[in-house]
């Protein structure tokens, strides 16, 4: 099997999908000749032409609004928002239009599409190239939110998302775009949505993580093991609808929960995960759940490594949970 990084794996998924289904089109800023600012769409313009890999005017609202119209017609658009920090002009189209079309039309109109967008910090991008906005979308009924952490999952999840009948927001953790290398099968395969993966088995503390922070959680787990604490690290992969069964099975085994995410703490997805566990497995808990997250500030530039919930902040939380 070829060794790929996440950029190459996503590129391969797009190529496989476009070869398989003529209705699939890519649109966005700089996705054409240059192949995207992260080169995720490299080579696709040459293979599929300007009618299927479309450089658009610089308007996120226009990109998503037009993509919704294309989807209503029956095409399968894959719009790219260059950085998730730029998605907000399209928020109305996503929240009020895309997410509600099936419901508001009684199923007559659907708008299946995959919005791809890079997320997260640790790349010296400051406020406007670092945010991790999943909570804003998880809160919206009608869309699914997916985030891979490795090349194999990136390809399989993206192909599953493209073939899913519902709109999917596909978040790409850009800090590990090139770092996360792995073997990726050629051709078509899917990783099912709504299923988490156990990234490391353990019996003492359950750690929930996703995207780039998975590696920080795994690093903390290795260090915790040196101190005799065995973490079970779960890579959520699909954030919503989340794989609640995998989470509950783990927490019932460990009795302890640490949730990690880059986004700000208050109103973040961590609060929802903790609540879901408390509602369903409260009496299995042997320690208060702990959230290790970004702080409730805008994402800072120079001090970004202090802002992010890296291994050095996860480890003490895991130990605290284990010893509570």
């Amino acid at each position: 099997m070829p060794l790929m990084n996440m950029v190459q794996a996503i590129n391969d998924a797009l190529r496989v999908a476009m070869r398989k289904d003529e209705r699939v089109v890519i649109l966005g800023e700089d996705v054409g000749k240059v192949g995207g600012v992260f080169r995720v769409t490299a080579g696709l313009f040459d293979e599929f032409g300007e009618d299927r890999v479309i450089d658009t005017p610089l308007s996120e609202g226009g990109i998503i609004g037009a993509a919704v119209g294309m989807a209503l017609y029956g095409m399968v658009p894959i719009p790219e928002i260059q950085f998730s920090d730029f998605i907000w002009p399209a928020y109305d189209q996503i929240v009020n239009e895309l997410a509600k079309y099936r419901y508001r039309s009684g199923g007559e109109y659907t708008a299946g599409m995959v919005i791809r967008t890079p997320v997260g910090g640790g790349i010296r991008g400051g406020h406007y190239h670092s945010q991790h906005p999943e909570a804003h979308f998880i809160h919206v009924p009608g869309i699914k939110v997916v985030i891979p952490s490795n090349a194999y999952d990136a390809k399989g999840l993206l192909l599953a998302a493209i073939e899913d009948p519902d709109p999917v927001l596909f978040l790409e953790p850009k800090r590990v775009y090139r770092a996360a290398k792995g073997e990726v099968p050629e051709g078509h395969y899917k990783v099912p949505l709504e299923s988490a993966a156990i990234a490391r088995d353990g019996s003492d503390v359950t750690v929930l993580a996703y995207g780039a922070m998975l590696y920080e959680a795994l690093d903390a787990a290795t260090k915790a093991a040196e101190q005799g604490v065995e973490c079970e690290v779960i890579d959520l992969r699909t954030l919503w609808p989340v794989d609640i069964q995998t989470i509950l099975a783990s927490v019932k085994k460990t009795g302890r929960l640490v949730v990690v995410h880059e986004a700000a703490k208050t109103g973040g997805f961590g609060g929802e995960l903790v609540t879901l566990v408390c509602e369903r497995a409260f009496y299995h808990l042997q320690a208060p759940p702990i959230r290790v997250t970004g702080f409730d500030t805008p994402f800072p530039y120079t001090l970004e490594m202090e802002y992010m919930p890296l291994s050095h902040r996860i480890l003490p939380a895991v130990l605290e949970s284990a010893r509570a």
Binding site: V25, G107, Y109
Partner: protein, 373 residues
């Protein structure tokens, strides 16, 4: 004569396409050459729309439906443009064009089921009245936020073009929507990608209480088109012949690969924004007078009467016909129970995920709300 400029410029280059002259004859320059049969057909739909508007407002005042957003005064703009579109074309409405949907083939019963939000409502009572859907007639699904349908119409038209289908897309919006981001993005994308889109702006003078000259400092809405590299045209929106003519021309351009057109139809919202609005708080009654004289239905009726195609007996017969159909449809819609409780959780996703199944079970197993309204 129409007031043709928003912001004071006295300029005769701001031509407004008119066909139906004051003497009831047609100007041959833009005459769409409609058959007598078609003029009668459109006129009947205009009158029906007016009659239904009046009856729906009455139903709302009686507390039998929750809301209505009407189109009194704008019937020529709506019915003329809908008429000009072909079977394979798509129409994305704003929320004030139910008359067009009925002309397209939405049944009166289905429309009224939506007005009552009952079990037969194809959108299952999930939306306010006047927010029906009719995909089988290539009529869009209605959203309340203003302007959102504009970029979608561009995407839809673009998809048709990429799929090599010979169809165009007409999108309705009001003068207020020209201030939205979607108007800018939509016209810009349509210009760049030459999409077969017809932007149909019903300039009815008002966005709730804000007058059209608060939406722009331009002299006209139509001239905004030039900034996007597409043609803009102004038409007397109360002249159904002119509306048909300019829409047909825009459609031909679209189908011939020449791209999009912005149409500004000069008309007037004779009622409030909706049944929730009281226009007397911001609009002097005297403002209505010039437009009452230009009532689109009176004008087409006068034309038909002069040609011997319409008379008092036709008025009476049509009123009776609409009244009878309306009463029967209302009776059925009102007698139909509300949507099944469990249906609240359908269509959020193609298949309800675990959390919606769980919430559905909680709702069904829990206490009922004290009343439906």
């Amino acid at each position: 004569m129409l007031k043709t400029s928003l912001n004071g410029a006295e300029n005769h280059d701001l031509d407004v396409v008119q066909v139906l002259r004051e003497d009831g004859t047609l100007d041959p320059e833009h005459d769409p050459k409609l058959s007598d049969e078609n003029v009668v057909y459109i006129h009947r739909h205009m009158v029906s729309t007016r009659l239904l508007d009046e009856r729906l407002v009455a139903l709302q005042r009686q507390g039998r439906i929750g809301f209505h957003v009407g189109s009194v005064g704008e019937e020529a703009a709506i019915l003329g443009s809908t008429f000009a579109m072909g079977e394979l074309d798509w129409l994305l409405p704003c929320y004030r064009e139910f008359g067009g949907a009925l002309m397209r083939g939405l049944s009166l019963q289905r429309f009224l089921d939506n007005m009552f939000g009952n079990r037969n409502d194809t959108v299952h009572g999930r939306q306010m009245p006047d927010h029906y859907t009719c995909r089988e007639k290539r009529w869009g699904s209605i959203s309340s936020p203003v302007g959102t349908q504009i970029t979608q119409a561009v995407g839809l038209a673009w998809a048709a073009k990429l799929s090599k289908e010979r169809s165009s897309v007409l999108v309705y919006f009001g003068d207020g929507a020209t201030s939205s981001c979607e108007f800018h993005s939509g016209l810009n994308f349509a210009g760049v990608f030459k999409t077969p889109t017809i932007f149909f702006c019903r300039n009815n003078g008002w966005a709730i209480s804000v007058p059209a000259d608060r939406q722009t400092a331009s002299r006209t809405f139509a001239e905004k088109a030039s900034g996007y590299g597409i043609p803009g045209v102004r038409v007397d929106g109360n002249d159904v012949f002119a509306v048909v003519a300019v829409t047909q021309k825009a459609r031909e351009r679209a189908l011939n690969g020449q791209g999009a057109t912005l149409i500004e139809a000069l008309t007037y919202r004779m009622g409030g924004h909706s049944t929730s609005d009281d226009p007397n708080r911001y609009r002097p009654m005297a403002d209505l007078e010039p437009w009452q004289k230009r009532d689109p239905i009176e004008r087409s009726r006068e034309y038909l009467v002069k040609k011997g195609l319409w008379g008092d007996a036709d008025d009476a017969a049509l009123v009776l016909e609409v009244e009878t159909q309306f009463r029967e449809a209302v009776r059925i819609a009102e007698d139909t129970p509300p949507p099944d409780l469990a249906s609240m959780f359908d269509d959020v996703y193609a298949k309800p995920p675990w959390h919606l199944e769980e919430q559905r079970a909680q709702l069904l197993g829990g206490p009922r709300a004290p009343s439906q309204h």
